[in-house]
């Protein structure tokens, strides 16, 4: 059980780029949150601050009762697992299973627990069949799942996924959706950065929107995707369904395929 609190956090990179301004947000333990928004808005920077890879220039980041400034990245990452946006930044073993096993082994878990976590994580990510393969001979999408499994196997309370939906097909997105459900049952907090608005609508109730170094909304899908100002500022488009509903003159609020189909069928039966 670990809560996450960012209070008035700002961050500048060594080259002087101001990447984050005055970010305040909390994630309760066991909560599932999506972060969306403009390229370069500061999403990756924000989550790297959460797992201690970066330390705030101003403000505080609390992981449970730890201020990340007083702890090493290695310590913080036991509580907050981070799956990099670029899978190739993370992979360094010659076969998938060793890659996944490395984390829990390195944490010093009992051998049985290491085995169990490795098997569980590979299965949940749909990569068991590739256990012996060299990750670099696998397609991009599968390499991404290898890195997700490596982080899940560390069994941290908080898990951050940076663009897991990039390059995934329909089946890959279903694997991700299922993984979110399983992690919720295990009461893990999961923070997911994504540009896939359909995926966000299908799986998240809390959406954090970022643009221009700042948080511009922290709300549910209805509020976010029907707020034109928020959408424009953060370079977002609502899910395709909302656009269709608008073209068919339905009143605002429709976001999912089921809702739209129901609305069309209801109109027909009048």
């Amino acid at each position: 059980m670990t809560e996450l609190h960012l209070t008035n956090v700002s961050f500048s990179y060594p080259d002087g780029t101001k990447a984050l301004e005055n970010l305040t947000l909390s994630v309760a333990s066991g909560e599932r949150v999506a972060i969306v928004g403009q390229n370069g808005a500061g999403k990756t920077t924000a989550v790297k601050l959460m797992n201690g890879l970066l330390k705030p220039t101003e403000g505080t980041v609390l992981v449970g009762d730890w201020d990340t400034k007083n702890h090493t990245t290695a310590q913080v990452s036991r509580k907050v697992g981070y799956v990099f946006q670029n899978p190739d930044d993370q992979i360094f073993h010659n076969d998938v299973e060793s890659e996944v096993r490395f984390g829990p082994k390195n944490m010093g878990f009992e051998p049985e627990r290491v085995d169990a976590l490795t098997t569980w994580a590979m299965k949940l990510c749909g990569i068991s069949e590739f256990a012996e393969e060299n990750p670099y001979n696998l397609p991009y999408s599968v390499r991404k799942f290898v890195t997700i499994a490596s982080v899940l196997a560390m069994d941290s309370d908080i898990i951050i996924l940076d663009e897991p939906t990039a390059g995934q097909d329909k089946i890959g997105l279903q694997v991700l959706g299922n993984l979110l459900r399983v992690l919720e049952e295990k009461q893990k907090s999961v923070i997911t950065i994504t540009h896939d608005m359909e995926f966000v609508t299908d799986y998240f109730t809390r959406i954090i929107v970022m643009a221009n170094r700042q948080l511009v909304a922290d709300d549910n899908a209805q509020k976010v995707f029907y707020n034109t100002e928020v959408l424009e500022r953060s370079m977002l488009k609502p899910p395709a369904v909302a656009q269709m509903a608008k073209l068919l003159d339905f009143s605002p609020g429709i976001l999912s395929k089921q809702q739209l189909i129901k609305a069309i069928l209801a109109q027909r039966s009048l």
């Binding site: 390059g167 540009h195 359909e198 488009k237 073209l247 069928l265």
Partner: protein, 286 residues
């Protein structure tokens, strides 16, 4: 019409793979066409791109059977450098497409032209134009390794477009982009088409493919299972069994049809839905 890219019975196996990754693939792409390669993860899309640009088998080794003909010349008759000038390739993973020898974005984008010995004045003009087109002028002084994912993806595309190749092979160029940015990239690809380029794009975003692309190549487990104009392929009932995402509007229309609502035609763009529903018509897709 002349074929720009022509594959005849192409099969390919990586040195370490047990099975062929491309299986007896034949197709022909006319000059100036915008063709999208779609297919599920691991179906061989990237491998097919690497075949068109000659990296399979030159770089990856392994066994290639069949013929790959680019602009009426067999790929085996090209010098790899010559082919590189003709076929621009944008990597699937933008994080790896960085020269590593330039320390700002302007020079990074100029790098390819420098290698070709293009005069400095011309390089400046061309790079400025492309930075503007791809909307990365504001990044010109940044280190290419210190960019966000989406910014890197734009730089990767710019580095290839600036070379002005006749053929553009672009592997998932919008995977890290925000929704408006994604749309902008499709507009740029459309502009490249207007300039007469032949475009091969790998992409999962079907709504945009339906809006912009001319033709589809559908890959499934290493086989080219369907090909043709976008609308024809999507309207073919066989498409469904490959479990590839339809454009969202098409998916909704098909579900409505299953609920007993007749469609006058199968819509593939949002604005077609009303029309498809209003006319009572015959079932177009059982």
């Amino acid at each position: 019409m002349t074929a720009m890219i022509d594959l005849k019975n192409v099969s390919y196996r990586y040195p370490v793979s047990d099975d062929s990754v491309l299986k007896n693939i034949s197709f022909s792409i006319e000059k100036g066409k915008f063709t999208a390669i779609i297919g599920n993860n691991g179906s061989g899309k990237t491998t097919l791109c690497n075949t068109i640009r000659g990296f399979v088998p030159h770089f990856y080794k392994g066994d290639l059977d069949g013929e790959v003909i680019i602009d009426n010349t067999k790929i085996t008759d090209y010098q790899l450098g010559q082919l590189g000038e003709k076929v621009g390739y944008v990597f699937q993973n933008p994080f790896i497409q960085v020269s590593g020898v330039k320390d700002n974005v302007f020079e990074e984008v100029a790098y390819g032209l420098e290698n070709l010995g293009v005069p400095v004045e011309e390089i400046k003009v061309r790079v400025e134009e492309v930075l503007k087109l791809v909307k990365i002028e504001y990044l010109r002084d940044k280190n290419p390794f210190e960019l966000s994912g989406g910014q890197r993806q734009r730089v990767a595309l710019a580095s290839i477009i600036v070379m002005d190749p006749e053929i553009l092979v672009i592997d998932e160029p919008t995977s890290q982009l925000d929704p408006i940015g994604t749309q902008q990239i499709f507009e740029i690809i459309r502009l490249m088409k207007e300039r007469g380029k032949t475009i091969v794009l790998v992409e999962h975003k079907m709504d945009l493919i339906a809006e912009y692309a001319d033709d589809l190549l559908v890959m499934h487990k290493g086989e080219l299972v369907m090909q043709g104009p976008v609308r024809d392929v999507l309207a073919d009932p066989a498409f469904e069994k490959y479990q590839i995402q339809y454009p969202h509007v098409t998916e909704i229309a098909l579900q409505l049809q299953k609920s007993g609502i007749p469609l006058s035609f199968l819509p593939i763009r949002d604005e077609e839905l009303a029309e498809a529903l209003n006319r009572t018509g015959v079932a177009v897709h059982d």
